[in-house]
Symmetry: C3
Subunit: 325 residues, 3 copies
C-alpha cells in the first residue's frame, strides 16, 4: 500500500494523494450512502415526483402483459404457442378471457385508487367501479375483433405489397397500433385513468405511431408504414380512411401555458369518410374538417377545412439543379 | 343481500338494483362465458381472420430469436455472453450456425405449409423445399458478413460523431436495420413466405427504419439516424449510397384499390451509385432514377429523374419573421 | 445410397445427382461446416469487424439493465414491484444504488479496457479510472433527479392532454428519452467510451427520439410526441425549450468524407432559453443560433440565426385544389 503511494511521487497535494490511497485501497462503495441521503432529501424537499404511498400504482409491465393477452384473444392462433383447432378453441379463449378479466380488474383497481388519492377523494366504491369497468371492457372485445377485421381488409385493399392477411396480422405496424388503440380507447371511454395512455404509448414505442386513446376512429382504418404518425386526443376520423407515414393530425400552435388553458377543448381536426392522406402531411386545428372522399397529397401543411371530394396537392416546389462535381 | 338492497333506496329501477346486488356480491366473472360465446360466434360468421387449423404457423418470437442468433454469427463477440478467442471461435460459430440451421428450417417449413394451405395447394415436398431454402440461406451468411463490413466502413466514413466500429456495431440503428434487411432479403429471394417481412418489421420496430425485404441494395450503404426512413419493395439502390432520417423512397399516389392493381409492378425509384439523400426528402415513382453521384438536399419532394452528378436543392422557402412578444 | 442414385436417372449431371441424394436422404446439416469455415476465413482476411480478443466488451443487455435500474432510483415507486413507503424507502434506494454502482463499474471497466486495447494503449490504471468515473456518475444522480423534475413540470405546463405527473412518468416518450439522455450525458462528460451511445440509442429505439449523449441541454426541456426528433452531438439547448415530433437540430450538408474532416467541430445549432420549435422543422449548422424566446413554426428549414424574440413562420405554401372524383 505505502509502496504504491511512494511509487507515484508526481501527485502534488496531500488531499490528492489521500484520495488516491482511498481509490487504491477499496471500492468507493463507502461513498454511496451519502448519495442515497442526498437522493432521499431531494424527494423530501423538491417535489421530485416520487411515488411513496400506501397505495400501489398500476404496473407498466402488467399493462403490457394485458395488451399481449388481449391480442391473443383478438387474433386467436396467431400469437400463441399452443396450436388451436376447433376442439380446444373454446377452452383456450375461455381461459385467456377469464385470466384477462382478473388482470385488467387488478390494474384498474390500482389506477382508480391511485387517482382518488391523487385528487384527495375518498375511495369508497373503487372495487365495484373497477369490476363494472372491467366487465364493460371485456364485453367490448367482440366488437373490437369485428372492427379490426375491417381494418385488416382495408390494409389488403390499400397495400400492393401484400395479399396475405397473415402477413398483416403478424407484421404490420399499422395494424398493431390500431389494435392497441382500439383496446385503449374502450378503457378511455370508461374513464379508466392512466392505463389507456400506457397502452397507446406502448404501441407508439413499438411502431412510431402515436394515437391518443381519446381519438375517435371509424372502421376500415389503414396506416401504411406509419413511423411518425401523430393523432391527437380530440381528432375525429370517419370510416375507410387511409394515412401514410409521418402524417400529423394535431393542434394549432400552443401558447406557453397551453397545458392549462387548452385542456378538454377540441384542438384536433375532423377527417370524414373515405379520405386518403399521403406521407408527411400535417393537418392542424379543432375546426379543420377534411370533407368525405378527399385526397390530400404528401408533404402538405393544412390548417383550413377542405370540401368533400377535393384533391389537394402542393404546387410543385422550385428546385435548384446544379452539377455536383 | 336484502339488507344491502334496502340500504340504498335511491336506486330507481329494479333492474338497476338487481344489477347492483350482483355487483356487490360477486366478481362479474360469471358474465365472461357469454363474451366468449360471442367471440367464438364472431369468428364463425364474420371472417375475423382467426388462425384455427391443423397447420402450425411461424412464431413471431422464434423469428426474432433467429434474427438475434444470426447477428451473433455475423458479428462474433459483440452480442455474446461467452468471451470469444481464437481457441473457441470455430466451436462457437459451428454450434451457433448448426442451431440456426435447425431453427430456420423449422420456421420455413411452417411458413411453406401454411402458405400452401392458404392457397389450397398440395404440400408434397414442403420439407425438402424448406431444407433447400434453409441451406441456401445459411450458405449466404459469409457473403452477408462481407457486405455488412462495407456498410460499417461507410458509416465510419460518413459520420463525424464516431471513429469506432464498435460503437457502430453496438448501437447504430442504421446498421441494425441493414443487417436485418440483408438477412431477410436472402429469404425473400428464396421466396420464403411471411418470415422476411416479420424480420424487417422487427427492424422497423427497433429502429423506425422500414425497408421492405424485396428492395435491392448495393454495398457500402449507410443510413444516419434513420427514424422515418421508408424504402419500398421494388426500390433499387446502387453501391455507396447514404441516406438520412425521414427519407422516403416510395410509390406515387395510389388509387383506392391499389392493393390489387399495382401488385408486382415496379412502383419505387432507382438510386444509382454514390448518391447522398438528406433528411426528410421524398422520392417517388417506379420510373424515377437518381443518377450516380447526385446529391439531393433535405426536405425535397421529387417525382422525376435526375441526371448523374446533379446537386438538387430546395429554393429557399419564403419565411415570415415577426416579433413574438 | 447407390440404389437411390439409380432410381432417379433423369437427373443429368453426377454432381446434381449426388446433391439430390443428399437432399433426399438426410438433413443438410453436413453442409454447415463448410459455411463455418468460410465465415472463419472471412474474418481472417477481410477485416469483418469481429471481436475476438482476451478482453471482454461491454454488454448491450447489461447497459440496458443499468438504464432501467437507474430509472427505478430516479423515480422511486414507479417502476418497482415492491411497494415503497417511508419505512422501506431508504433501504430500497440504498440497495438499488449499491447494486447500480457495481454494475456500472463493471461495464465501465470493460469499456475502458476495450478502448485502450483498440488504441494500442497500456491499461495500467483502468480499474482505478473506472471507480472514479463510476462514483462521479453515482454522485450525479441527485442532480439528475432534480433536473428531471423540471422536465416533468415543463411537460405539465406544455401539454393540454394531461394533468397527471404519473401519466408523464409512466408513459411519455419525451420524458423517457430525456431521462436516459441525462444519464448518458453524465457518462459522456466523464469520457466513458461506447456506453453513453448504447444508452441513447436504446432510448432512440424505444421512443424514436435520437439525442446524441454529447448534446448540452438545460432544465425544463419538453419534447412532445417525439418520433423523428434528432439532436446532434454538438447542439446546445438552453432552459425551458419545447420541441415537437420530427424536429432535427443537425449539421449542414456533409461531404463524402465528413466522418474524418468534421470530427470534433461544432456542427449543430444553439437554441437559447424559452424557445418553442414546432413539428418537423429542421435547423442546421454549428453557427446557427435561435435567440431566446423565439417561436419557430412547423415544417420550416432554417440554416441561419434568428434574433431573440422572433416568430418564424413558413409563408403559406401554394396548394392546388381540384375535384377528386
Amino acid at each position: 500500500m505505502s509502496r504504491k503511494l511512494h511509487s507515484e511521487p508526481s501527485i502534488t497535494s496531500l488531499s490528492a494523494i489521500c484520495e488516491h490511497i482511498q481509490i487504491s485501497n477499496s471500492s468507493r462503495h463507502d461513498k454511496v450512502p451519502a448519495v442515497v441521503k442526498r437522493l432521499l432529501n431531494s424527494w423530501n424537499t423538491k417535489d421530485c415526483f416520487e411515488h411513496i404511498s400506501p397505495v400501489s400504482i398500476p404496473s407498466h409491465e402488467k399493462v403490457i402483459d394485458i395488451v399481449q393477452q388481449a391480442r391473443r384473444i383478438l387474433f386467436p392462433g396467431y400469437f400463441t404457442k399452443t396450436r388451436l383447432h376447433a376442439a380446444n378453441l373454446e377452452y383456450y379463449i375461455g381461459k385467456e378471457t377469464t385470466d384477462l378479466y382478473e388482470k385488467v380488474n387488478e390494474q384498474i383497481t390500482m389506477a382508480i385508487r391511485h387517482d382518488c388519492r391523487r385528487n384527495n377523494l375518498p375511495c369508497t366504491n373503487c372495487e365495484e367501479r373497477s369490476q363494472e369497468m372491467t366487465l364493460a371492457f371485456i364485453e367490448s372485445l367482440p366488437e373490437v375483433t369485428a372492427i379490426l377485421a375491417t381494418d385488416i381488409r382495408a390494409a389488403l385493399a390499400g397495400d400492393p405489397a401484400t395479399d396475405s392477411p397473415d402477413e398483416i396480422i403478424f407484421s404490420y405496424p399499422g395494424l398493431l397500433a390500431i389494435s392497441i388503440f382500439r383496446l385503449a380507447h374502450e378503457l378511455f371511454r370508461l374513464k379508466v385513468p392512466i392505463i389507456p395512455r400506457i397502452m397507446t404509448e406502448y404501441a407508439h414505442s413499438l411502431t412510431g405511431i402515436d394515437i391518443h386513446p381519446g381519438a375517435t376512429i371509424g372502421q376500415g382504418f389503414f396506416i401504411d408504414h406509419g413511423t411518425g404518425v401523430v393523432i391527437g386526443e380530440t381528432t375525429i376520423i370517419g370510416n375507410d380512411v387511409r394515412l401514410y407515414q409521418g402524417v400529423t393530425l394535431g393542434a394549432l400552435s400552443l401558447p406557453r401555458d397551453a397545458g392549462v388553458r387548452m385542456r378538454h377543448k377540441k384542438r384536433h381536426p375532423t377527417i370524414e369518410d373515405n379520405v386518403i392522406i399521403y406521407a408527411n402531411t400535417t393537418i392542424l386545428g379543432g375546426d379543420t374538417v377534411i370533407g368525405a372522399g378527399s385526397v390530400i397529397g404528401g408533404n402538405i401543411w393544412l390548417t383550413e377545412s377542405v370540401d368533400a371530394g377535393t384533391r389537394v396537392l402542393l404546387k410543385r416546389p422550385e428546385l435548384i439543379y446544379s452539377n455536383s462535381r
